[in-house]
Symmetry: C2
Subunit: 408 residues, 2 copies
């Protein structure tokens, strides 16, 4: 009999089951108040707009094109809409700089494949997006901590990478309302990151999944826009690779995301996609373009109005119910709040008790740390619960933490 | 300035531009009779069925689910429909053995990622599907020639792989009306392949993209069905991984394909997909299930009726117009006929002249050979031209070959 484990390649054997995603599945129980899933509220989907989009496609001249094979770089009108949209946030580019992927997760996978050989180093924040670690893990990198406030020098990164048997290849981060912390990197931090990347001669992967969802505070230009300004306005002189998503603004089920970067990177990614899955769904790219062209801004406003109220409710509830010694972030956008428990209190143990005793769920923070730290942290999402439920859930959680820690 | 070539990982640098696909793009000129593209005829797409499918989804209770994130293994009703469908061709399995991918090309990419470390050997036929070579190339294998009629022993494969610095990991082939030759592996060949795989302890990747499109002759059970029979009917004891497609039967633009295999392989592929692109488009999986459940068989009959006439027309025209010394395959299904020119006549040079002088196009055969042989061969597709155009195109091509070779 075939010994599958023996014939799988090394890289795949190192891929572990995602305990977190398994957890999320378990938490679909109606009796539990779940702040665990990082998904958009389906009640806010522009379903009528999509209904009209598909109906129009099937009534129009492009129906055969919608059902046929298409080019690996993506649907031209969608790429052109994105060029205009990127222009509004300071990124001047052409359609040759825009590449459509099957969700921005695919962009992360391809970038891992493009840059990482086993033993190379990827710089990521502690904590970082779990899905990025999962995507990169397949290419067997070493992780080093990307810190913009600490005292790491370019040389210390270089030496650590060398010791690990490779080179630093890129810095990955979500600069706006990141998953999982909800925090934003300020302008100075972004400039510092560009300095670091220039000195190390590495790429910056800017995960912009939540960038459109700012509820208050002043917008900070994307890292790509700041770098573009420094490099004379020519995107082909930049090293920042911007990964965008329609999953949080329009809908994730169509699997349409995008990458904006210099043409050399885009050209490589297009070849990679041609070999990997030919192209993203033609009809879905057309549907996204249809909906985006007609009402992207209105849809974003609708989502922001709903989510900002939920964020406010969660922040208010945390202030009301959490005992002393518990800290949390105050995000200006996105979907997440990050909670830090007193030292020694374990997020995973707390989750088990929270589900059993209080019927409340969240995601323990350890999984988001490439080095396995962060045991006393957890992530909560406010995107899918109404204000009353948020208040009730945080109240129960606050009571549990008091019971467990004996805090006042 | 950033030296991108220097920081890209080795594996990606080795990916070459697909000259063939570039060629196919150029050949979209209306003044050219093209037998080059291996794509389905859009006039045969079940567009009204898909129109009804999307309309039903948006009018039904599942609209939010259609637009939301979903599980990596795929839409359950589609997997269950496939279980019943596979049962009809001798493959008894459960939904746990079925995995939905974004086109069967993605299945090939994932299988390359799962099995191949650099230097490992993949057995492929000479010639083979170009897209399979492109997908596997990213993982830097060595190729050895899979031959079921020659005198290669398991030991000779094993030794060659060892000399190349790795192990034989799988044999890849399209057993029915293969792309590019149109040829079918008979039952004895399939049984011999299972023997070989058992002896080498490797996987068999059965690319079944064209399997539904048989126009005459008796159907031969899939390799997976034959192996299942040998191994006591338990799919979890089999080593054959069946890659199926809806691109040739329903429509490629939705990017929905599938893999059927033992649960250990499926489990690994699901984890890989979770990390790589989360899941295939939810709404498209629902649309494919909707159309397949209501009229898959009728749609396949419609396509077969149209394509078989075109195949007949091309075979008839070849017999009428080709000079002596030119040979071709007589496929019982699929989309392709494979032509072998007299020794010393180069397919690529012939193409240049065919486009310039005769306004006819095809794909030179060299690209389909992992070892760069096959210079005197080319592929023609009969899927997208009507009978009259086929006759005209082959007539022109026959005249050109006579002019070039001086043959009678």
């Amino acid at each position: 009999m075939l010994n599958w484990e023996d014939i799988f390649a090394t890289r795949s054997s190192r891929m572990k089951a995602s305990e977190i995603r398994e957890l999320l599945k378990l938490l679909d129980r109606p009796d539990i108040i779940s702040f665990a899933g990082g998904i958009p509220d389906p009640a806010l989907f522009p379903d009528q707009d999509f209904k009209a989009a598909y109906a129009d496609i099937f009534s129009g001249a492009a129906v055969n094109a919608a059902l046929q094979y298409s080019v690996s770089e993506g649907y031209k009108p969608l790429r052109e809409w994105l060029v205009a949209e990127m222009g509004k946030i300071g990124v001047t580019c052409t359609a040759d700089n825009v590449f459509i992927v099957s969700g921005s997760q695919q962009g992360l996978d391809y970038l891992g494949k493009l840059f990482l050989s086993p033993g190379d180093t990827a710089l990521v924040t502690w904590p970082t997006y779990l899905g990025a670690l999962q995507a990169f893990n397949a290419y067997e990198p070493t992780y080093d901590q990307l810190t913009l406030t600490g005292n790491r020098t370019p040389d210390s990164y270089r030496k650590a990478a060398q010791a690990a048997g490779g080179k630093v290849k890129f810095a990955y981060l979500s600069a706006d309302f990141s998953n999982p912390t909800g925090e934003t990197v300020d302008r100075a931090g972004r400039e510092k990151l560009i300095d670091l990347a220039d000195e190390l001669d590495i790429a910056i992967i800017e995960d912009a999944a939540y960038q459109s969802l700012r509820y208050d505070g002043e917008a900070i230009p994307p890292i790509l826009a700041l770098e573009l300004k420094r490099k004379g306005g020519d995107i082909n002189h930049t090293r920042t690779i911007y990964c965008g998503s329609f999953s949080k603004t329009l809908a994730p089920g169509l699997r349409v995301g995008f990458v904006v970067a210099n043409t050399e990177v885009i050209r490589k990614l297009v070849l990679m996609k041609q070999a990997a899955d030919l192209h993203s769904s033609t009809i879905n790219q057309m549907a996204i373009a249809h909906v985006a062209e007609r009402g992207f801004e209105a849809q974003v406003q609708k989502i922001k109005a709903a989510y900002s109220k939920r964020r406010d409710a969660m922040l208010h509830a945390l202030a009301t119910y959490m005992p002393q010694g518990v800290r949390w972030t105050r995000p200006e956008g996105g979907m997440f709040i990050w909670v830090t428990l007193p030292d020694g209190v374990d997020g995973a143990s707390l989750l088990a008790k929270a589900i059993e005793k209080k019927k409340v769920a969240f995601v323990p923070g350890k999984a988001f740390h490439a080095d396995g730290s962060g045991a006393n942290t957890f992530r909560m999402s406010f995107s899918c619960a109404d204000e009353k439920t948020i208040d009730e859930g945080i109240s129960r959680l606050g009571a549990l933490i008091r019971e467990e820690t004996g805090a006042a």
